[in-house]
Symmetry: C2
Subunit: 156 residues, 2 copies
Amino acid sequence: MAGTAKSRKGNPEDLDQGLLPELIGYQLRRAQFVVFSEFQKVMADLEMTPGQYGVMTLIGRNPGLTQSALARAVGVERSTMVAVIDGLEKNKFVERRPSPVDRRSYALVLTETGEKKLAELDPMVALHDKEVSSVFTPEEKATFMALLEKVCTIGR
Amino acid sequence: MAGTAKSRKGNPEDLDQGLLPELIGYQLRRAQFVVFSEFQKVMADLEMTPGQYGVMTLIGRNPGLTQSALARAVGVERSTMVAVIDGLEKNKFVERRPSPVDRRSYALVLTETGEKKLAELDPMVALHDKEVSSVFTPEEKATFMALLEKVCTIGR
């Protein structure tokens, strides 16, 4: 059965994908998955996901940020962000402090351990990005980033 | 406190993002979130996520597909895919049948309800994609899709 043999392999190219490959959202999701998978190969020993790294960078650069503001900035649900912060707090990378301006929210800061971790991660992330970028010429990379930015303006 | 005012707003542009905007992975994730959010505005009434739509399309076009093959094709963990199929099965869109070739796995097929649902969704998804695409010129769209495809070849 050809269909079954195809299914077993599970390479997207071996499947009839209908109109999916023409959909921006579908191809964006696939590309993002590939890049995040490579990131996690590099970062596996450090037990850090791309999402956690992004959150730690934003907290490090904007100390006092609230969970809601962070969720909006990263583009996830607030409940998802709370779970991410729970994990980072458990690992002693991030601390929730009472907000000086709003008693219903927390002000997020990196701990000293968190700052050290981030300093350790930064060069590895830069290296990973360089490796991913090597699929492009410099011109293609610039074009790609500009087009991604254009997508990010949708709905604003 | 300027810092706090910025945090409240939570617009990525208002935050110091460090090197994040230069990272392919970070910008891919942001763009994908924007496109998926727009999709969910359109699809909210139909209670269908982009991921579920993709999965239903692949099952519809490749009946008999196993959960593992589907997980590889879409690019998610097998456990994630099992949860997606659980949801689609609960809604009576997808049926798990015993695989004719491997007794340890299921052959996935759409139910009649699932096929009707997919036929209803297809034009709406095409319209959503057209709206998203309108941020680009036709040339930019073609370039963007080709560059996304290039990213998908990483690690192969």
